[in-house]
Structure formats: C-alpha cells, structure tokens
C-alpha cells in the first residue's frame, strides 16, 4: 500500500481509517515482541484520531494529504503528552509539554501517530543496540541489527508495522538503517526541515527525515514536513516546491558522479560494490551519463565527525543535570555531587564515551588541535562536493560498506562500529540532502542500499532520480523471503 493508494481507498470508502489503524495495531502485536521496534504503541489515541478522519470522510470534507496514514515517530522527537525517552534512563519518565514542529505538521496533514520507536541512546550508535530499553532486531533476519540510530523506525516500516516513519540523521542515522532494512530513507538538506522539538545531539549536523516503503511516499512526507519554522533559527526561509511534481521526468542528459574514494574502500563488501555498480549501469540505461569523480578528503569524514559530533554532544547534553527534568540520583550531599551522580546513573556507556571524547576535544590546550582542525577539514570536505557539483548533477555511492551485521558484532569495539558510517557522514558535514534506497540483496538475503547525494536544496532531483531507478529496477519484486517481511 502506498500513501496515494490509501488516499484513493479512503475517498472511495473501500477502507476506513479505523480499519486501517486496527490492521497495523494487529500487525504490531504479532511481530513486535520479536522485533522490538516500538517503545510505546499509542493505540487508543490512534483509534480516536482515525475516527475523526472517518467522520470527515463521511461528511464529504476534502481530505488532507496524509489523511489516515499510520506513522511511527523516533523517540527523540517530542510528542505532547506522549512519553519521549531518547531510549535513555535519563528521560525514562519525560512527558513533553509541547509538540515538535515536524510531528505537528504531520498531524495537521491528517497523519495518525501509531507509536514511538526505539533508537540508540540519544541517537548515538549505528545498530540500535545502545538503547536502554533493549535492542531492535532486523525484520529480514532477527539475528542481525537493523542499523541505527533510527533502527526502530526502519524496522517498523520494513516489517509492515506502520506505513511510514520519521527518524533523525546526524551521521547516517536514517540512511544506514534504511539500507540495512531494505526501505527508503531520506535525509533532507540541513535546515530544510525544522529541528524544533528534536532532542539535540549535534546541532550543526542533526536533521529530521522520513522512512517509507517507496520513493513517492518519501516525497509526499517531505512535502508536509519541509519548510521554514520561526522557532528554529537554522531552518531555511526558502519556498518548498512540490517534491512529487517531477518524479516522472526522464533522466536523459543527467550526469551521475561515482565517487572513486567510495568504491576503493578496503572495507567495502564485494557484493555491495557489485550491486551498487549494477544500479549505476541501470541509470545509464535510463539515459544518464556516468562520470568518475574524485573527492580526495571524503574518507577523512569519519575522523572529522568523531571530533565535531561528540564536541557538540558534550555541550548539548550538559543540560541533563537532574534539576529541571530527567533522572536524579538521590542521597547526594551537595549540588555538584548530585549532578555527577545523576549523569553517571542516567546515561549509558556510549553516551558517556561521546561526552568524554567531546569534553576532551574542547578542553583547554586541545581545542585547536582537535575541534578547530576538524572544522577546517570539514571545509575541505565541503569544497570537494562543491567541485564535484560543477561536473555532475548527482553523486552515487553505496549507503553502507556492508549489509546488516550480526547483533553484538561490534559491542566491544566502538571504533569498528563508528566505521560503518563512513559513506553517510560526508553528506552531513556538508549539509547535503541524500537518500538511501534498496538496490539488491546479498547471498544471505539481506538488503543492500544505494545512496544518492545531491546539491543543497535539490531534494527534487534526488527524489526524481531515486524514483526513476526504483521503477526501472523493481528490486523488491524478486525479494528473498525475510522472516518478518510481508
């Protein structure tokens, strides 16, 4: 089912919004005990909202664009009156008194909240294993990770527990789980979508975006969530085009750049490489021209990111002090002890690790060597992209160097886990929009993701190319059997 098909069905009264919500709640109750994508299912609220939509249909009112679409929301986006935990003990009982801008826009467009999804604690991780409330499993094979940090949202869409979802992407947290779970994940241009009500991780990198089963649905969701928000001073005050308008436009004359540094990776799995190169030839068949592009500083993205993101995180997470909200450790003698004990008790090990790295990189004597240096290399990475976009219209890479790995594979080696974000991080550093969509499967039946990156605010082109590829390749038609895949 796609969003446009659902709209038709509702209009023709072939299905009611209530029936639809009931179907999804049923599916969640069947599969989520095995997958653990949801931290909370908001069944009652969802049914009440569905009834409102059915009333509206009955009275013949025009339906808003996402009427009745059952959506899951990553649990680092504030939902008024619905617990928002960031998968952390620190916020275990936090019930936001306000609604984030992106979710507000979804509900105004008629979408229905099905529940809140699991993530790596405070979105720090690449496997959804650092959640304080248990790991999420990959619906294709539950012994594998779903990717992260938005693993709950990706797994929920892949397993048919919801029609679409929202995630956030700081270094690949939408695209990498989309790749691991065989769904479409879009990270918009930095500032295209409001971050107001998104719990901050690394403010110069964070961006909210949609997960969907298909590219057209992603475009429909972006149409609703994109746009200026006076409450987020980094949100861009530029017009929002209709992202669905040019999906059907042919690719003739399109110049596609293959970043050579991505394909020369030591850690790039052969099956991933072959599958992505096959997708590139498919674009050639559709009329695109393939051009080899060099981005010499591309591979320095990881080192740059693992200075900048923890530095910003250590500053952002200073707010959790046990005073105004969140976990407080009891019995401390004085204020400083209470804060240190609350932070030690409320944060898990990955969050503490990143706070320590960031605090070190920002501390006296090291700030120039680490933080300033990383910001300068960030400029070089941006310039590589600027240069690439004088020669091509869009860039193509694998989304992740491998398919989904086994649960627990990197649990004792944080650096190995960080390296799985190698190919997604540069787009965050440069603020560029990027999308991951399925392009094949490995021998074990696990999905492989293709990443497309376009220039700033060119989501329209990104979606057009992704759509044309998706329709021509139709990789889901001959999909292998996945344990919790419909």
């Amino acid at each position: 089912m796609t969003i446009s098909k659902l709209r038709e069905k509702l209009k023709r009264r072939e299905i009611s919004a209530r029936e639809l919500v009931e179907e999804y709640i049923q599916r969640i109750s069947e599969v989520d005990p095995s997958i653990n994508a949801f931290l909370k299912v908001t069944s009652e609220k969802a049914l009440l909202e569905a009834d409102q939509i059915d009333k509206s249909v009955a009275s013949g009112n025009p339906l808003p664009p996402l009427a009745g679409v059952p959506i899951a929301i990553k649990d680092n986006l504030c939902t008024k009156g619905v617990r928002t935990t960031c998968s952390s003990r620190m916020l275990e009982n936090f019930v936001p008194p306000y609604e984030s801008t992106v979710t507000e826009r979804l509900w105004s467009a008629g979408a229905v909240l099905l529940g809140k999804t699991n993530l790596d604690e405070f979105a720090m991780g690449s496997s959804t294993e650092t959640s304080a409330f248990g790991a999420t499993s990959n619906p294709w094979n539950p012994s594998k990770v779903p990717g992260g940090s938005s693993g709950g949202s990706a797994a929920a869409v892949a397993s048919g527990e919801c029609l679409a979802a929202l995630g956030s992407d700081t270094g690949g947290s939408i695209r990498q789980p989309a790749s691991f779970c065989g769904v479409v994940g879009l990270k918009p241009t930095y500032g295209r979508v409001s971050r107001w009500g998104l719990v901050a991780f690394a403010s110069s990198l964070d961006q909210v975006g949609p997960f969907a089963n298909c590219v057209a649905d992603s475009a429909e969701l972006l149409n609703v969530i994109a746009g200026h928000d006076p409450r987020d001073s980094t949100s861009l005050n530029v017009p929002v085009p209709d992202y669905c308008a040019e999906l059907l436009k042919p690719l003739k004359g399109l110049r596609v750049g293959l970043i050579s540094q991505c394909f020369d990776q030591k850690g790039l799995a052969t099956n991933v490489k072959n599958s992505v190169l096959k997708a590139a030839s498919q674009l050639e068949v559709l009329g695109a021209e393939l051009i080899d592009i060099s981005c010499p500083r591309f591979n320095d993205g990881i080192a740059t990111y693992y200075v900048i993101a923890p530095s910003e995180a250590s500053s952002n997470l200073a707010r959790y002090d046990g005073v105004k909200y969140g976990f407080r450790s009891e019995g401390a003698e004085n204020l400083a002890e209470m804060m240190a004990a609350s932070r030690a008790g409320g944060f898990g090990s990955e969050v503490k690790r990143r706070i320590l790295i960031g605090t070190y990189a920002l501390s006296a004597g090291y700030v120039d060597a680490y933080y300033k240096k990383a910001q300068q290399v960030r400029t070089l990475i941006r310039r590589d992209f600027d240069n690439a976009f004088t020669q091509v219209d869009i860039l193509l890479t694998p989304t992740a160097p491998t398919t989904a790995f086994q649960a627990g594979a990197h649990s004792n080696d944080p650096l190995a886990m960080y390296l799985s974000d190698l190919l997604t991080i540069p787009a965050n550093l440069a603020g560029l929009p990027a999308i991951s969509l399925p392009c094949g499967f490995d021998e074990g039946g696990m999905p492989i993701g293709l990443q497309l990156i376009s220039n700033v605010l060119e989501e329209k082109r990104l979606l057009q190319v992704a759509y044309q590829y998706e329709q021509a390749a139709d990789v889901m038609k001959d999909r292998p059997k996945g344990e919790f895949i419909l």
């Binding site: 401390a332 003698e333 209470m338 240190a340 690790r353 320590l356 240096k373 990383a374 070089l380 941006r382």
Partner: protein
C-alpha cells in the same frame, strides 16, 4: 599525539560532571586512546589558511525584541522536575560544609 592516562579520563570526567567508577575509567582510557589515535591523522592534513566550517548551510542571526512574556507552560515544566517546591526547583545544598 599524547598518550591518554587514567588521570586524563578522571579529569575530563570531572569537567563533564560524570561520576565514573574505577572499572569504567580503565575501559574508557583504552577506548579514548584508540579513538583519539584514529582522529589524530587529521593533523597531517594541510589546513593552512582554510576557514573553519561551523554550520553546513549559511545562516544569519535571528533576533526578536526582548519583551518579557509569561510562559503558559510554567506549571507543567515545574511538574517535570524531580523535586520542585512552589515556584522553585529544589536541589541539595550548593556549598559543602
């Protein structure tokens, strides 16, 4: 590249207001050493005269008039506190004896 010692981790933890256990300090010393060694290769990149990027997309300051307003959320925000009393957040004593 300086070597990371348990004393460095203790110092950073105290700056970050994290009350770490001894076992944690040893593990983090090891991991920080590895991660900082990995990021150290940035030092080899020539960045002479290269400006720093602080934001990926250029933005300018957004200002508003500085007018005091009553927050409609005041009571709800106080309710979220682990300890509040009247209009105040309650904390342990600030100065030690």
């Amino acid at each position: 590249m300086t070597k990371i010692t348990p004393q460095d981790v203790k110092k950073v933890a105290s700056l970050a207001r994290l009350d770490l256990q001894d076992g944690e300090i040893d593990a983090y010393t090891d991991q920080l050493e590895k991660i900082l060694r990995y990021v150290a290769h940035l030092q080899e990149i020539d960045t002479e005269n290269i400006p720093a990027t602080t934001r990926a997309v250029e933005v300018t300051n957004v200002t508003r008039d500085d007018i005091a307003q009553l927050s409609p959320l005041k009571d709800k925000l106080l309710e979220l506190s682990p300890h509040s009393e009247g209009r105040f957040f309650r904390v342990p004593k600030i100065l030690s004896d």
